[in-house]
Symmetry: C2
Subunit: 414 residues, 2 copies
């Protein structure tokens, strides 16, 4: 079985490529290395010493005998090359990670907003149009986000993509299943709601088989495969733009800084471990929608947690102090979030929970590579609008103070 | 009061610019002349001899003493120029027509799909980001389409943008008002549903005041102002890509051809006369949402008609014959469409009806300029997908036959 992994150099893409290759898929990565280029722009680097794509692939072949292909291409800008690639490779499946994926980066400035919309929308649309143009019947699995839902209605368990509603009509109440009304919290999240409209259209008009994975916030860094050899190591982002909340807390704890919680920390979010991410993608590829089916939507998350509870959990494990800072995001201070994930449960997913897995590999990574960290980059400085920027500015110093009496990382896991 | 009319060289944009100028607005048109360039690509021209922008503006000044500004700019590609323009002009209102607006053109080929998404999404997003970047507090009125709704539910009167639904929750039934679930019928229509998500986000995150006008199919060609002098004449499209259904019927009748109805002609569509379009835009500009309001959505249409009924009406007036051809569009053969337009009614709109206005100016135009017509361009040849393309091909000759015993245009209106 042949699979293209678009965005296969990134945080989720690289471990996905290895996971699928290890399970016998013939993998070709398509990536323009934009994530590495953004590191250059932001003057930051992965905490982990990620290798070049050439070295990664060579190491994988040396260790396993398996070949992974690599095409350096900007999906969304090189349509003819993309069509040729689909015609030449005839993939059975395509995994689409080829989008700018950080909400704070998408809100940094007008230029970053424009880049995110242009990059993400054109990537998704070029891919769909190229599939039709090339006559591909591949199954497309797209990495979306839980953020398309917004934060819902009290008492409503967030369903998987579609919501049953009752509409009053002249003929009486009418029950309908609709795409869950979008309520994105950033330009990045908004692009995923726009992607969803592209998927609905191409599934209906052209019969493209599509699975959209509404993923929670990913934590952890390593998977079974990336752990095999340091040359395969996954990227680990801890900066205010690309670092996800939990990984930033663990990094802050590792270097003996206080954990910076935005506002009340009452935001409830959905989470998933990177190892479960790659398992979910494999499950999704092995269970595609049938021809003619509507877009299949799965919630790719394993548990919901309030941010302040996560901070407390990390503080308890590490002895770090929790500090409250002004929230740069335009969002509610507090929200509930209960999410259905029955489909992946039914497919056999047995998740790694925060309670049991929190300290594994992450603290190991944070400690091992702490000397590579630029601590000035941990604070979230991208404000959602002028009002939030003022609030953050007024509350400075937002940079977390060193908490002198904290011993970095008390809980040590091999 | 200062207004920018983005896309002010087009079919709706030009008469809007004149209408607002005549009523005392200080108008600047922003346009990259893309509609004229697409005429070059399609090897077609407006039936009416439209003048260059320079001649149009000079004629208007000569006739009325009023000045209209013109900036040749691609909204969506020249962000810094757009920000500078907003800072320099400080418009009170912005009317946004700067999008590719033909569904058949958007479905012509992969390249046309890519162009439409890239052009329309970036135009709308650059505009919104530039408004925030420049600190503009202008009211933005956007030309959307009735096509965002799809064709609804039996017994449901299409509301204006928002739909009240009941959702079952653990706390019992919960009534909510949501953005009407999108169901676009072409790539073009889909871009307008993606625009809607941009509007929702920027209104909520940045407080941008936005009115989205969900317009029906426009018929007619001239307004009070474009009729004043031939140098001000509006464009009239009769080709299979840009000609709207009613204008194509009138053109077919004018030259003695049969009226080509797609499939059963059972598609019900919403219509509005171009004169009412410009009136509605003026009403919308004079009644902006308040700061902090949600996006204001108005249905800019005045009546719904079934396509075969329109053909019968034109046939009765002109003696033309109605002919059925394979439908190149992926759509239902028959649909109902009942639409609320209370907001414009309440603002005093008194519409021109098809029954009273059908033959005015349109047949005049069709007759006067018939010698400029390229009859080979009337048929709709852009198929929505491979299956529809096959059906159209199998049913050829799709080009309407000349109906010899029909006298072109029996009803003559001055």
């Amino acid at each position: 079985m042949k699979v293209l992994v678009l965005g296969g150099d990134g945080f989720c893409g690289w471990p996905t490529a290895l996971h699928l290759s290890a399970r016998g898929w013939d993998v070709t990565i398509v990536d323009n290395l934009s994530r590495r280029n953004i590191d250059n722009e932001l003057e930051i680097q992965s905490l982990t010493p990620i290798r070049t794509m050439g070295e990664r692939i060579a190491a994988w072949q040396e260790l396993t005998g398996r070949t992974i292909g690599f095409v350096n291409m900007t999906v969304g800008k090189e349509f003819d090359r993309l069509v040729s690639l689909l015609k030449d490779e005839r993939p059975d499946s395509i995994v689409h990670f080829a989008e700018q994926r950080a909400a704070p980066y998408s809100m940094k400035s007008a230029r970053h907003k424009l880049y995110t919309v242009d990059n993400n929308l054109n990537a998704t649309h070029h891919l769909l149009a190229a599939m039709v143009e090339s006559g591909s019947d591949a199954h497309l699995a797209h990495l979306g986000t839980m953020g398309v839902y917004g934060y819902g209605t009290a008492g409503l368990k967030i369903p998987e993509g579609y919501l049953t509603v009752t509409v009053d009509t002249d003929n009486g109440p009418c029950r309908q299943e609709i795409l869950f009304p979008a309520n994105p919290g950033s330009i990045y999240h908004m692009t995923k709601t726009q992607d969803a409209l592209l998927f609905q259209f191409y599934a209906r008009n052209d019969g493209v088989r599509i699975t959209d994975l509404h993923q929670g916030i990913v934590w952890g860094a390593q998977t079974e495969e990336t752990r095999k050899d340091e040359r395969l190591i996954n990227r680990f982002d801890y900066d205010g733009d690309y670092g996800t909340v939990l990984n930033r807390f663990l990094m802050q704890a590792a270097v003996g800084y206080s954990l910076t919680v935005h506002g009340t920390g009452g935001q409830t979010r959905a989470f998933i471990h990177i190892q479960d991410t790659v398992r979910c993608i494999e499950l999704a590829l092995n269970n595609p929608p049938a021809p003619g089916d509507r877009v299949k939507i799965l919630n790719q998350m394993t548990e919901s947690r309030r941010v302040r509870d996560l901070a407390a959990m990390v503080a308890q494990m590490t002895g770090a102090v929790v500090e409250t800072v002004a929230n740069p995001r335009q969002e509610a201070d507090e929200n509930e979030l209960v999410v259905a994930n029955d489909q992946f449960r039914d497919l056999g997913l047995s998740p790694i929970t925060l309670a049991e897995g929190l300290m594994q590999d992450v603290t190991g990574i944070a400690r091992r590579y702490a000397d590579r960290a630029d601590l000035s980059k941990i604070a979230c400085v991208s404000a959602w609008n002028a009002k939030r920027a003022e609030a953050v500015e007024a509350a400075k110093p937002a940079a977390p103070a060193r908490t002198a009496d904290v011993t970095p990382i008390r809980a040590v896991v091999a």
